[in-house]
Protein backbone atom coordinates (compact mmCIF):
# COMPACT_ATOMS: atom_id res chain seq x y z
CA UNK A 1 0.00 0.00 0.00
CA UNK A 2 1.51 3.32 -1.01
CA UNK A 3 1.46 6.59 0.90
CA UNK A 4 -0.76 8.03 -1.84
CA UNK A 5 -3.32 5.27 -1.38
CA UNK A 6 -3.34 5.81 2.36
CA UNK A 7 -3.75 9.56 1.88
CA UNK A 8 -6.73 8.86 -0.37
CA UNK A 9 -8.27 6.66 2.31
CA UNK A 10 -7.71 9.36 4.94
CA UNK A 11 -9.34 11.88 2.59
CA UNK A 12 -12.25 9.47 2.21
CA UNK A 13 -12.73 9.30 5.97
CA UNK A 14 -12.40 13.01 6.58
CA UNK A 15 -14.61 14.16 3.71
CA UNK A 16 -17.46 11.72 4.36
CA UNK A 17 -19.34 10.82 7.52
CA UNK A 18 -17.42 7.57 7.92
CA UNK A 19 -16.20 7.04 11.48
CA UNK A 20 -13.99 4.02 10.98
CA UNK A 21 -12.51 2.31 7.95
CA UNK A 22 -10.44 -0.86 7.63
CA UNK A 23 -8.88 -2.00 4.39
CA UNK A 24 -6.94 -5.21 3.88
CA UNK A 25 -4.99 -6.01 0.76
CA UNK A 26 -2.76 -9.07 0.86
CA UNK A 27 -0.61 -8.76 3.93
CA UNK A 28 -1.18 -5.00 4.28
CA UNK A 29 -3.89 -3.73 6.51
CA UNK A 30 -4.83 -0.10 7.21
CA UNK A 31 -7.25 0.91 9.92
CA UNK A 32 -8.40 4.53 10.10
CA UNK A 33 -10.58 5.79 12.89
CA UNK A 34 -11.94 9.27 13.38
CA UNK A 35 -11.76 10.41 17.02
CA UNK A 36 -12.48 13.70 18.78
CA UNK A 37 -9.26 14.38 20.73
CA UNK A 38 -6.80 14.44 17.89
CA UNK A 39 -3.37 12.97 18.47
CA UNK A 40 -0.87 11.85 15.86
CA UNK A 41 0.11 8.26 16.34
CA UNK A 42 1.51 5.40 14.43
CA UNK A 43 0.25 2.24 16.02
CA UNK A 44 1.99 -0.92 14.91
CA UNK A 45 1.84 -4.52 15.92
CA UNK A 46 4.17 -4.87 17.81
CA UNK A 47 3.89 -1.24 18.87
CA UNK A 48 7.02 0.84 19.25
CA UNK A 49 6.45 3.83 21.56
CA UNK A 50 7.08 6.61 19.05
CA UNK A 51 8.39 9.69 20.73
CA UNK A 52 5.91 12.38 19.73
CA UNK A 53 4.32 14.98 21.96
CA UNK A 54 2.31 16.63 19.17
CA UNK A 55 -1.07 17.72 20.43
CA UNK A 56 -2.20 19.60 17.34
CA UNK A 57 -4.22 17.90 14.63
CA UNK A 58 -1.82 16.49 12.10
CA UNK A 59 -1.25 13.62 9.77
CA UNK A 60 1.86 11.54 10.16
CA UNK A 61 3.38 10.13 7.01
CA UNK A 62 3.57 6.36 7.16
CA UNK A 63 7.23 5.38 7.49
CA UNK A 64 8.68 3.78 4.37
CA UNK A 65 10.73 0.65 5.03
CA UNK A 66 14.00 1.06 3.20
CA UNK A 67 14.96 -2.53 2.49
CA UNK A 68 11.65 -3.40 0.91
CA UNK A 69 10.83 -5.77 3.71
CA UNK A 70 7.23 -6.89 3.84
CA UNK A 71 5.04 -4.73 6.04
CA UNK A 72 4.30 -7.14 8.81
CA UNK A 73 2.25 -4.78 10.97
CA UNK A 74 -0.98 -2.86 10.63
CA UNK A 75 -0.36 0.87 10.45
CA UNK A 76 -3.28 2.67 12.02
CA UNK A 77 -3.42 6.40 11.49
CA UNK A 78 -5.74 8.51 13.56
CA UNK A 79 -6.75 11.37 11.35
CA UNK A 80 -7.92 14.85 12.22
CA UNK A 81 -11.63 15.53 11.88
CA UNK A 82 -12.32 16.79 8.39
CA UNK A 83 -11.46 20.12 6.87
CA UNK A 84 -12.64 23.10 8.86
CA UNK A 85 -12.20 25.14 5.71
CA UNK A 86 -8.42 25.56 6.14
CA UNK A 87 -5.66 23.95 4.04
CA UNK A 88 -6.23 20.51 2.62
CA UNK A 89 -3.65 18.49 4.52
CA UNK A 90 -4.33 15.40 2.45
CA UNK A 91 -2.99 17.15 -0.67
CA UNK A 92 -0.58 14.56 -2.08
CA UNK A 93 1.75 17.27 -3.40
CA UNK A 94 2.66 18.42 0.12
CA UNK A 95 6.32 17.73 0.90
CA UNK A 96 7.35 16.91 4.47
CA UNK A 97 10.41 18.56 5.98
CA UNK A 98 11.99 15.88 8.19
CA UNK A 99 14.48 16.34 11.01
CA UNK A 100 17.92 15.27 9.76
CA UNK A 101 19.24 14.97 13.32
CA UNK A 102 18.06 14.22 16.84
CA UNK A 103 17.67 17.18 19.18
CA UNK A 104 15.47 20.00 20.40
CA UNK A 105 13.37 21.99 17.90
CA UNK A 106 13.45 25.77 18.11
CA UNK A 107 11.32 27.94 15.84
CA UNK A 108 13.43 31.09 16.27
CA UNK A 109 17.09 32.07 16.44
CA UNK A 110 16.82 32.94 20.14
CA UNK A 111 14.14 33.09 22.84
CA UNK A 112 11.80 36.06 22.16
CA UNK A 113 13.00 36.52 18.58
CA UNK A 114 10.44 36.18 15.79
CA UNK A 115 10.12 32.65 14.34
CA UNK A 116 12.06 31.89 11.16
CA UNK A 117 8.84 30.95 9.34
CA UNK A 118 5.12 30.97 10.00
CA UNK A 119 2.29 29.10 8.29
CA UNK A 120 1.56 30.81 5.00
CA UNK A 121 5.11 32.11 4.48
CA UNK A 122 6.80 31.56 1.15
CA UNK A 123 10.25 29.99 1.34
CA UNK A 124 13.10 29.51 -1.14
CA UNK A 125 15.53 26.63 -1.48
CA UNK A 126 18.02 27.23 1.35
CA UNK A 127 15.70 29.33 3.52
CA UNK A 128 16.28 28.62 7.20
CA UNK A 129 13.12 27.03 8.62
CA UNK A 130 14.17 26.29 12.19
CA UNK A 131 16.98 25.29 14.49
CA UNK A 132 17.60 21.87 15.98
CA UNK A 133 19.89 21.95 18.96
CA UNK A 134 22.10 18.91 19.44
CA UNK A 135 24.76 18.71 22.16
CA UNK A 136 24.69 22.48 22.74
CA UNK A 137 25.24 23.14 19.02
CA UNK A 138 22.56 25.06 17.12
CA UNK A 139 21.98 23.53 13.68
CA UNK A 140 20.05 25.58 11.13
CA UNK A 141 17.65 23.43 9.13
CA UNK A 142 17.22 24.72 5.58
CA UNK A 143 14.38 24.11 3.14
CA UNK A 144 15.28 21.87 0.22
CA UNK A 145 12.65 23.37 -2.03
CA UNK A 146 10.79 26.57 -2.82
CA UNK A 147 7.15 26.77 -1.74
CA UNK A 148 4.68 27.76 0.93
CA UNK A 149 4.71 26.58 4.54
CA UNK A 150 1.34 24.89 4.99
CA UNK A 151 1.74 23.30 8.40
CA UNK A 152 4.08 23.32 11.39
CA UNK A 153 3.85 20.01 13.23
CA UNK A 154 6.09 20.52 16.23
CA UNK A 155 6.14 22.95 19.14
CA UNK A 156 8.93 25.29 20.12
CA UNK A 157 11.28 23.49 22.52
CA UNK A 158 9.99 20.03 21.60
CA UNK A 159 12.45 17.10 21.39
CA UNK A 160 12.52 15.62 17.90
CA UNK A 161 13.94 12.37 16.59
CA UNK A 162 15.66 11.57 13.29
CA UNK A 163 13.14 11.60 10.46
CA UNK A 164 10.38 13.32 12.41
CA UNK A 165 8.18 15.53 10.22
CA UNK A 166 8.59 19.20 11.21
CA UNK A 167 6.77 21.09 8.45
CA UNK A 168 4.62 20.44 5.41
CA UNK A 169 5.49 22.59 2.40
CA UNK A 170 3.45 23.02 -0.75
CA UNK A 171 5.99 23.33 -3.58
CA UNK A 172 5.62 26.13 -6.11
Amino acid sequence: MTVEEIRELIHLVTSTGVAELEVQRGENRVWIKRTAPVVTQEVMVPAPPVYSAAAAPAIAAVPQQGAGAAQQAAPAVQAAPGGSGAEDLTDPSLQPVKAPIVGTFYEAASPGAPPFVSVGDKVKQGSVLCIIESMKLMNEIESELAGTVVKKLVENGQPVEYGETLFLIKPN
Partner: protein, 466 residues
Protein backbone atom coordinates in the same frame (compact mmCIF):
# COMPACT_ATOMS: atom_id res chain seq x y z
CA UNK B 1 19.90 5.36 41.94
CA UNK B 2 19.33 5.70 38.21
CA UNK B 3 15.80 6.57 37.19
CA UNK B 4 16.29 6.12 33.48
CA UNK B 5 19.01 4.71 31.25
CA UNK B 6 19.54 4.78 27.51
CA UNK B 7 20.76 1.69 25.69
CA UNK B 8 23.13 2.60 22.87
CA UNK B 9 22.74 -0.66 21.01
CA UNK B 10 20.27 -2.94 19.23
CA UNK B 11 19.16 -6.53 18.92
CA UNK B 12 19.47 -9.15 21.62
CA UNK B 13 21.90 -7.21 23.83
CA UNK B 14 19.64 -4.16 23.88
CA UNK B 15 16.83 -6.41 25.04
CA UNK B 16 19.20 -7.98 27.61
CA UNK B 17 19.93 -4.55 29.12
CA UNK B 18 16.22 -3.71 29.14
CA UNK B 19 15.62 -6.90 31.14
CA UNK B 20 18.25 -5.99 33.73
CA UNK B 21 16.89 -2.44 34.01
CA UNK B 22 13.33 -3.72 34.43
CA UNK B 23 14.53 -6.04 37.21
CA UNK B 24 15.97 -2.97 38.95
CA UNK B 25 12.90 -0.79 38.37
CA UNK B 26 14.81 1.56 36.07
CA UNK B 27 13.07 3.05 33.02
CA UNK B 28 14.67 2.54 29.62
CA UNK B 29 15.16 4.50 26.41
CA UNK B 30 15.86 2.62 23.20
CA UNK B 31 17.56 4.20 20.23
CA UNK B 32 17.02 2.76 16.79
CA UNK B 33 17.90 3.21 13.14
CA UNK B 34 15.17 3.35 10.54
CA UNK B 35 15.89 -0.30 9.73
CA UNK B 36 15.08 -1.29 13.32
CA UNK B 37 11.80 0.57 13.68
CA UNK B 38 9.87 -2.64 14.41
CA UNK B 39 12.53 -4.23 16.62
CA UNK B 40 11.77 -5.91 19.89
CA UNK B 41 14.09 -3.62 21.88
CA UNK B 42 12.11 -0.62 20.58
CA UNK B 43 8.86 -2.37 21.48
CA UNK B 44 9.84 -3.15 25.07
CA UNK B 45 11.70 0.01 26.08
CA UNK B 46 9.68 2.68 27.89
CA UNK B 47 10.67 5.29 25.30
CA UNK B 48 12.27 5.09 21.87
CA UNK B 49 14.09 7.60 19.71
CA UNK B 50 14.94 7.17 16.04
CA UNK B 51 18.54 8.31 15.67
CA UNK B 52 19.34 7.83 11.99
CA UNK B 53 19.18 5.80 8.81
CA UNK B 54 20.10 2.13 8.59
CA UNK B 55 23.87 2.57 8.18
CA UNK B 56 25.55 2.11 11.57
CA UNK B 57 27.95 4.99 11.03
CA UNK B 58 24.97 7.34 10.83
CA UNK B 59 22.95 5.82 13.64
CA UNK B 60 24.34 3.45 16.30
CA UNK B 61 27.90 4.76 15.84
CA UNK B 62 26.81 8.39 15.56
CA UNK B 63 27.94 9.92 18.85
CA UNK B 64 26.08 13.26 18.50
CA UNK B 65 22.85 11.39 17.68
CA UNK B 66 23.15 9.08 20.66
CA UNK B 67 24.09 11.86 23.08
CA UNK B 68 21.31 14.11 21.72
CA UNK B 69 18.82 11.33 22.26
CA UNK B 70 20.12 10.89 25.82
CA UNK B 71 19.78 14.63 26.47
CA UNK B 72 16.23 15.02 25.18
CA UNK B 73 15.06 12.01 27.18
CA UNK B 74 16.87 13.13 30.31
CA UNK B 75 18.56 9.83 31.13
CA UNK B 76 20.95 9.32 34.03
CA UNK B 77 23.22 6.85 32.28
CA UNK B 78 24.00 5.07 29.03
CA UNK B 79 24.67 1.35 28.66
CA UNK B 80 26.69 0.75 25.47
CA UNK B 81 26.19 -3.03 25.17
CA UNK B 82 28.94 -4.75 23.14
CA UNK B 83 30.41 -3.68 19.81
CA UNK B 84 29.37 -0.24 18.47
CA UNK B 85 30.50 2.44 20.95
CA UNK B 86 31.15 0.13 23.91
CA UNK B 87 34.95 0.42 23.76
CA UNK B 88 35.09 3.94 22.35
CA UNK B 89 36.93 5.96 25.01
CA UNK B 90 35.97 9.23 23.30
CA UNK B 91 32.31 8.32 23.59
CA UNK B 92 32.72 7.47 27.27
CA UNK B 93 34.35 10.86 27.78
CA UNK B 94 31.62 12.74 25.92
CA UNK B 95 29.06 11.00 28.16
CA UNK B 96 30.83 12.15 31.29
CA UNK B 97 31.24 15.75 30.13
CA UNK B 98 27.56 15.77 29.14
CA UNK B 99 26.65 14.80 32.69
CA UNK B 100 25.60 11.27 31.74
CA UNK B 101 27.14 8.23 33.51
CA UNK B 102 28.78 5.75 31.15
CA UNK B 103 28.12 2.17 32.32
CA UNK B 104 31.59 0.76 31.81
CA UNK B 105 35.25 1.31 32.73
CA UNK B 106 36.75 4.81 33.06
CA UNK B 107 37.69 6.29 29.64
CA UNK B 108 41.45 6.26 30.24
CA UNK B 109 41.35 2.58 31.28
CA UNK B 110 39.40 1.70 28.11
CA UNK B 111 41.93 3.69 26.12
CA UNK B 112 44.86 1.87 27.73
CA UNK B 113 43.31 -1.55 27.07
CA UNK B 114 42.76 -0.57 23.43
CA UNK B 115 46.46 0.07 22.86
CA UNK B 116 47.52 -3.57 22.59
CA UNK B 117 51.24 -3.08 23.20
CA UNK B 118 50.64 -0.84 26.22
CA UNK B 119 48.07 -3.24 27.64
CA UNK B 120 50.61 -6.09 27.34
CA UNK B 121 53.25 -3.99 29.06
CA UNK B 122 50.87 -3.04 31.88
CA UNK B 123 49.87 -6.69 32.45
CA UNK B 124 53.47 -7.90 32.28
CA UNK B 125 54.41 -5.35 34.93
CA UNK B 126 51.88 -6.93 37.29
CA UNK B 127 53.06 -10.47 36.76
CA UNK B 128 50.48 -11.59 34.21
CA UNK B 129 52.15 -14.08 31.85
CA UNK B 130 52.25 -12.66 28.32
CA UNK B 131 53.12 -14.28 25.02
CA UNK B 132 56.93 -14.07 24.86
CA UNK B 133 58.30 -12.25 21.83
CA UNK B 134 61.16 -10.16 20.51
CA UNK B 135 61.18 -6.64 21.93
CA UNK B 136 61.35 -5.15 18.44
CA UNK B 137 62.36 -5.86 14.87
CA UNK B 138 64.91 -8.64 14.32
CA UNK B 139 68.03 -6.95 13.02
CA UNK B 140 70.01 -10.05 12.04
CA UNK B 141 69.82 -13.87 11.83
CA UNK B 142 72.12 -14.04 14.86
CA UNK B 143 69.79 -11.87 16.94
CA UNK B 144 66.85 -13.96 15.71
CA UNK B 145 68.52 -17.19 16.85
CA UNK B 146 69.25 -15.67 20.25
CA UNK B 147 65.68 -14.44 20.73
CA UNK B 148 64.18 -17.72 19.52
CA UNK B 149 66.36 -19.74 21.88
CA UNK B 150 65.20 -17.58 24.78
CA UNK B 151 61.51 -17.87 23.86
CA UNK B 152 61.73 -21.59 23.11
CA UNK B 153 60.74 -23.33 19.88
CA UNK B 154 58.42 -23.37 18.04
CA UNK B 155 58.37 -19.65 17.23
CA UNK B 156 56.56 -17.69 14.55
CA UNK B 157 58.13 -14.96 12.45
CA UNK B 158 55.65 -12.19 11.63
CA UNK B 159 55.71 -9.10 9.43
CA UNK B 160 55.59 -5.91 11.46
CA UNK B 161 53.79 -3.96 8.73
CA UNK B 162 50.94 -6.33 7.99
CA UNK B 163 49.21 -9.64 8.49
CA UNK B 164 46.90 -12.02 6.72
CA UNK B 165 49.47 -14.80 6.74
CA UNK B 166 51.96 -13.00 4.52
CA UNK B 167 55.48 -12.55 5.83
CA UNK B 168 54.73 -15.30 8.36
CA UNK B 169 56.81 -18.41 8.95
CA UNK B 170 56.63 -21.02 11.68
CA UNK B 171 60.09 -22.16 12.80
CA UNK B 172 60.40 -25.43 14.67
CA UNK B 173 64.18 -25.84 14.82
CA UNK B 174 67.16 -23.48 14.99
CA UNK B 175 68.65 -24.91 11.73
CA UNK B 176 65.69 -23.67 9.63
CA UNK B 177 65.58 -20.19 11.16
CA UNK B 178 68.05 -18.17 9.02
CA UNK B 179 66.48 -19.48 5.80
CA UNK B 180 62.89 -18.91 6.91
CA UNK B 181 63.79 -15.45 8.21
CA UNK B 182 65.14 -14.49 4.78
CA UNK B 183 61.96 -15.85 3.12
CA UNK B 184 59.71 -13.96 5.51
CA UNK B 185 61.63 -10.74 4.96
CA UNK B 186 61.38 -11.06 1.18
CA UNK B 187 57.66 -11.81 1.33
CA UNK B 188 57.04 -8.90 3.70
CA UNK B 189 58.97 -6.54 1.45
CA UNK B 190 56.90 -7.63 -1.55
CA UNK B 191 53.55 -7.49 0.26
CA UNK B 192 53.95 -4.45 2.53
CA UNK B 193 57.04 -2.66 1.14
CA UNK B 194 58.67 -3.24 4.51
CA UNK B 195 60.93 -6.22 5.31
CA UNK B 196 60.70 -5.79 9.13
CA UNK B 197 60.08 -9.07 10.94
CA UNK B 198 59.50 -9.71 14.65
CA UNK B 199 59.28 -13.00 16.50
CA UNK B 200 56.74 -14.53 18.90
CA UNK B 201 56.20 -17.82 20.65
CA UNK B 202 54.10 -20.08 18.42
CA UNK B 203 51.38 -22.12 20.04
CA UNK B 204 50.24 -25.26 18.25
CA UNK B 205 46.56 -25.93 18.81
CA UNK B 206 45.95 -22.95 21.12
CA UNK B 207 42.86 -22.92 23.30
CA UNK B 208 41.08 -19.61 23.82
CA UNK B 209 40.50 -19.10 27.55
CA UNK B 210 39.08 -15.89 28.98
CA UNK B 211 38.34 -14.67 32.51
CA UNK B 212 35.30 -12.58 33.49
CA UNK B 213 36.07 -9.45 35.50
CA UNK B 214 33.67 -7.38 37.57
CA UNK B 215 35.01 -4.46 39.60
CA UNK B 216 33.27 -1.75 41.62
CA UNK B 217 34.28 1.88 41.86
CA UNK B 218 35.73 1.42 45.33
CA UNK B 219 38.74 -0.69 44.39
CA UNK B 220 37.23 -4.16 44.71
CA UNK B 221 37.83 -6.61 41.87
CA UNK B 222 36.32 -10.08 41.46
CA UNK B 223 37.01 -12.66 38.80
CA UNK B 224 34.00 -14.85 38.05
CA UNK B 225 35.81 -17.84 36.66
CA UNK B 226 36.78 -18.50 33.08
CA UNK B 227 35.18 -19.40 29.76
CA UNK B 228 36.56 -21.39 26.84
CA UNK B 229 35.80 -20.05 23.36
CA UNK B 230 37.99 -22.24 21.18
CA UNK B 231 35.29 -23.14 18.67
CA UNK B 232 35.78 -20.24 16.26
CA UNK B 233 35.65 -19.73 12.54
CA UNK B 234 37.77 -16.93 11.07
CA UNK B 235 38.23 -15.45 14.55
CA UNK B 236 34.45 -15.33 15.11
CA UNK B 237 33.32 -17.35 18.14
CA UNK B 238 30.66 -19.96 17.45
CA UNK B 239 30.40 -21.88 20.73
CA UNK B 240 31.47 -20.89 24.23
CA UNK B 241 31.41 -22.75 27.52
CA UNK B 242 32.09 -22.31 31.21
CA UNK B 243 34.15 -23.58 32.88
CA UNK B 244 36.91 -24.70 30.51
CA UNK B 245 37.12 -28.51 30.36
CA UNK B 246 40.91 -28.30 30.79
CA UNK B 247 41.17 -25.72 33.58
CA UNK B 248 42.58 -26.97 36.88
CA UNK B 249 41.53 -25.43 40.21
CA UNK B 250 45.17 -24.53 40.88
CA UNK B 251 45.69 -22.68 37.59
CA UNK B 252 42.33 -20.93 38.00
CA UNK B 253 43.19 -19.81 41.53
CA UNK B 254 46.67 -18.55 40.68
CA UNK B 255 45.47 -16.70 37.57
CA UNK B 256 42.59 -15.09 39.45
CA UNK B 257 44.96 -13.92 42.17
CA UNK B 258 47.32 -12.25 39.66
CA UNK B 259 44.48 -10.69 37.65
CA UNK B 260 42.72 -9.22 40.68
CA UNK B 261 45.90 -7.41 41.69
CA UNK B 262 46.72 -6.25 38.16
CA UNK B 263 43.24 -4.88 37.46
CA UNK B 264 42.98 -3.23 40.86
CA UNK B 265 46.29 -1.46 40.20
CA UNK B 266 45.25 -0.07 36.85
CA UNK B 267 41.99 1.20 38.34
CA UNK B 268 39.59 -1.05 36.43
CA UNK B 269 35.86 -0.51 37.02
CA UNK B 270 32.79 -2.40 35.83
CA UNK B 271 32.78 -5.49 33.61
CA UNK B 272 35.50 -6.79 31.34
CA UNK B 273 37.16 -9.91 29.98
CA UNK B 274 40.83 -10.89 30.03
CA UNK B 275 41.70 -13.13 27.07
CA UNK B 276 44.44 -15.76 27.04
CA UNK B 277 45.78 -18.46 24.78
CA UNK B 278 46.60 -21.79 26.40
CA UNK B 279 49.34 -23.98 24.93
CA UNK B 280 49.19 -27.79 24.86
CA UNK B 281 51.18 -27.95 28.11
CA UNK B 282 48.47 -25.95 29.87
CA UNK B 283 50.33 -22.64 30.19
CA UNK B 284 48.36 -19.41 29.76
CA UNK B 285 49.55 -16.39 27.79
CA UNK B 286 47.81 -12.99 27.96
CA UNK B 287 46.42 -11.68 24.68
CA UNK B 288 44.20 -8.70 25.42
CA UNK B 289 41.53 -7.14 27.63
CA UNK B 290 38.02 -6.47 26.29
CA UNK B 291 36.75 -3.53 28.32
CA UNK B 292 33.03 -4.27 27.94
CA UNK B 293 30.34 -6.91 28.55
CA UNK B 294 30.69 -9.73 26.03
CA UNK B 295 28.28 -11.73 23.89
CA UNK B 296 28.99 -14.94 25.81
CA UNK B 297 28.42 -13.55 29.31
CA UNK B 298 25.38 -15.84 29.89
CA UNK B 299 27.51 -18.96 30.38
CA UNK B 300 29.26 -17.26 33.30
CA UNK B 301 25.89 -16.17 34.66
CA UNK B 302 24.73 -19.79 34.50
CA UNK B 303 27.57 -21.22 36.55
CA UNK B 304 27.85 -18.37 39.09
CA UNK B 305 24.20 -17.35 39.45
CA UNK B 306 25.20 -13.69 39.10
CA UNK B 307 23.35 -11.31 36.74
CA UNK B 308 26.27 -9.56 35.07
CA UNK B 309 24.36 -6.79 33.33
CA UNK B 310 22.50 -5.93 36.51
CA UNK B 311 25.90 -5.90 38.25
CA UNK B 312 27.22 -3.44 35.65
CA UNK B 313 24.35 -1.06 36.30
CA UNK B 314 24.70 -1.39 40.08
CA UNK B 315 28.47 -0.75 39.89
CA UNK B 316 27.80 2.42 37.88
CA UNK B 317 25.34 3.52 40.57
CA UNK B 318 28.20 3.34 43.08
CA UNK B 319 27.25 0.13 44.87
CA UNK B 320 29.86 -2.13 46.46
CA UNK B 321 30.80 -5.50 44.99
CA UNK B 322 30.21 -7.21 48.33
CA UNK B 323 26.54 -6.14 48.16
CA UNK B 324 26.22 -6.93 44.47
CA UNK B 325 27.74 -10.43 44.62
CA UNK B 326 26.59 -11.09 48.18
CA UNK B 327 29.18 -13.71 49.13
CA UNK B 328 32.14 -15.72 47.87
CA UNK B 329 32.14 -16.57 44.17
CA UNK B 330 31.30 -20.24 43.62
CA UNK B 331 31.25 -22.07 40.31
CA UNK B 332 28.63 -24.76 39.91
CA UNK B 333 27.86 -27.01 36.96
CA UNK B 334 28.64 -26.45 33.27
CA UNK B 335 27.12 -24.15 30.67
CA UNK B 336 27.40 -24.02 26.88
CA UNK B 337 26.29 -21.32 24.46
CA UNK B 338 25.64 -21.71 20.74
CA UNK B 339 25.53 -18.52 18.68
CA UNK B 340 22.60 -18.87 16.29
CA UNK B 341 23.49 -16.79 13.22
CA UNK B 342 21.36 -15.86 10.21
CA UNK B 343 23.64 -17.65 7.75
CA UNK B 344 23.71 -20.81 5.69
CA UNK B 345 25.00 -23.67 7.89
CA UNK B 346 27.39 -24.92 5.21
CA UNK B 347 28.31 -22.03 2.92
CA UNK B 348 28.13 -19.42 5.72
CA UNK B 349 26.49 -17.01 3.28
CA UNK B 350 24.51 -14.37 5.19
CA UNK B 351 20.76 -14.93 5.21
CA UNK B 352 18.82 -11.77 6.09
CA UNK B 353 15.05 -11.76 5.58
CA UNK B 354 11.70 -12.32 7.22
CA UNK B 355 11.20 -15.03 9.84
CA UNK B 356 8.06 -16.92 8.86
CA UNK B 357 7.95 -19.30 11.80
CA UNK B 358 9.79 -19.35 15.11
CA UNK B 359 9.71 -21.90 17.92
CA UNK B 360 12.05 -21.25 20.83
CA UNK B 361 13.09 -24.26 22.91
CA UNK B 362 12.49 -24.26 26.65
CA UNK B 363 12.48 -26.74 29.45
CA UNK B 364 14.94 -27.42 32.21
CA UNK B 365 18.38 -25.94 31.81
CA UNK B 366 17.62 -23.96 28.63
CA UNK B 367 17.91 -20.19 28.11
CA UNK B 368 17.40 -18.24 24.88
CA UNK B 369 18.49 -14.61 24.50
CA UNK B 370 17.01 -13.25 21.30
CA UNK B 371 15.31 -10.26 19.71
CA UNK B 372 13.85 -12.34 16.89
CA UNK B 373 10.12 -12.85 16.55
CA UNK B 374 7.69 -14.36 14.06
CA UNK B 375 7.20 -12.00 11.11
CA UNK B 376 10.22 -10.00 12.26
CA UNK B 377 12.81 -9.07 9.68
CA UNK B 378 16.53 -9.61 10.06
CA UNK B 379 18.05 -6.57 8.33
CA UNK B 380 21.18 -6.95 6.19
CA UNK B 381 22.99 -3.97 7.76
CA UNK B 382 24.18 -5.45 11.04
CA UNK B 383 25.83 -8.59 12.36
CA UNK B 384 24.17 -11.96 11.77
CA UNK B 385 23.64 -13.01 15.39
CA UNK B 386 19.92 -13.60 15.89
CA UNK B 387 19.85 -15.67 19.05
CA UNK B 388 22.01 -17.14 21.79
CA UNK B 389 21.07 -20.60 22.96
CA UNK B 390 22.48 -21.43 26.38
CA UNK B 391 22.16 -24.70 28.24
CA UNK B 392 23.21 -25.55 31.76
CA UNK B 393 23.81 -28.94 33.34
CA UNK B 394 25.37 -30.47 36.41
CA UNK B 395 28.32 -31.43 34.19
CA UNK B 396 29.46 -30.94 30.60
CA UNK B 397 27.78 -34.10 29.34
CA UNK B 398 24.39 -32.96 30.66
CA UNK B 399 24.89 -29.47 29.17
CA UNK B 400 25.69 -31.07 25.79
CA UNK B 401 22.68 -33.40 25.94
CA UNK B 402 20.39 -30.50 26.81
CA UNK B 403 21.90 -28.47 23.96
CA UNK B 404 21.13 -31.28 21.53
CA UNK B 405 17.55 -31.42 22.73
CA UNK B 406 17.18 -27.64 22.57
CA UNK B 407 18.64 -27.44 19.06
CA UNK B 408 16.18 -30.09 17.90
CA UNK B 409 13.30 -27.99 19.21
CA UNK B 410 14.62 -24.67 17.84
CA UNK B 411 12.68 -23.92 14.66
CA UNK B 412 13.41 -20.94 12.44
CA UNK B 413 11.74 -20.77 9.04
CA UNK B 414 12.15 -18.18 6.33
CA UNK B 415 15.92 -17.71 6.73
CA UNK B 416 18.92 -20.01 6.99
CA UNK B 417 20.53 -20.39 10.40
CA UNK B 418 23.56 -22.08 11.87
CA UNK B 419 21.34 -24.47 13.87
CA UNK B 420 22.18 -27.51 11.69
CA UNK B 421 25.88 -26.74 12.03
CA UNK B 422 25.61 -26.64 15.82
CA UNK B 423 23.69 -29.92 15.79
CA UNK B 424 26.53 -31.60 13.89
CA UNK B 425 29.17 -30.13 16.20
CA UNK B 426 27.30 -31.28 19.33
CA UNK B 427 27.23 -34.82 17.85
CA UNK B 428 30.95 -34.71 16.98
CA UNK B 429 33.19 -37.04 19.01
CA UNK B 430 36.08 -34.55 19.24
CA UNK B 431 33.78 -31.83 20.61
CA UNK B 432 32.11 -34.20 23.06
CA UNK B 433 35.55 -35.22 24.35
CA UNK B 434 36.44 -31.55 24.86
CA UNK B 435 39.40 -31.91 22.50
CA UNK B 436 38.97 -28.46 21.04
CA UNK B 437 41.33 -25.66 20.09
CA UNK B 438 41.13 -22.69 17.72
CA UNK B 439 41.78 -24.96 14.71
CA UNK B 440 38.99 -27.37 15.67
CA UNK B 441 36.38 -25.92 13.30
CA UNK B 442 38.79 -26.19 10.35
CA UNK B 443 39.34 -29.88 11.13
CA UNK B 444 35.61 -30.41 11.63
CA UNK B 445 34.68 -28.76 8.32
CA UNK B 446 37.43 -30.72 6.50
CA UNK B 447 36.07 -33.97 7.94
CA UNK B 448 32.53 -32.99 6.94
CA UNK B 449 33.71 -32.25 3.40
CA UNK B 450 35.52 -35.58 3.14
CA UNK B 451 32.58 -37.49 4.54
CA UNK B 452 30.31 -35.88 1.99
CA UNK B 453 32.71 -36.68 -0.85
CA UNK B 454 32.98 -40.29 0.35
CA UNK B 455 29.20 -40.53 0.45
CA UNK B 456 28.93 -39.29 -3.13
CA UNK B 457 31.56 -41.79 -4.25
CA UNK B 458 29.71 -44.54 -2.45
CA UNK B 459 26.45 -43.66 -4.18
CA UNK B 460 28.20 -43.64 -7.55
CA UNK B 461 29.72 -47.07 -6.82
CA UNK B 462 26.33 -48.46 -5.87
CA UNK B 463 24.79 -47.14 -9.10
CA UNK B 464 27.65 -48.59 -11.13
CA UNK B 465 27.09 -52.00 -9.58
CA UNK B 466 23.43 -52.00 -10.53
Amino acid sequence: MFKKILIANRGEIALRVICAAKDLGIRTVAVYSEADRYSLHVRFADEAICIGPAKSARSYLNIPSVISAAEITNVDAIHPGYGFLSENADFAEVCETSGIRFIGPPPDVTRLMGLKQRARAAMKEHGVPILPGSEGILKSPEEALEVAAEIGYPVILKASAGGGGRGMRVVREAEELPNLLAQAQQEALAAFSCPDIYCEKFIERPRHIEFQVIADEHGDVEILGERECSVQRRHQKLIEEAPSPVMTPELRESTIKVLREALRSIGYHNAGTVEFLMDPSGKLYFIEVNARIQVEHPVTESITGIDLVKAQIRVAMGERLADIIGGPVTLRGHAIECRINAEHPETFAPSPGRIKALNLPGGIGVRVDTAAYTDGTIPPYYDSLIAKLITFGRDRAEAVARMQRALDLFIVEGIHTSIPLHQRIMADAEFQAGQIDTHYIQRFLERAKQEKAAEVQNNVAVLDAV
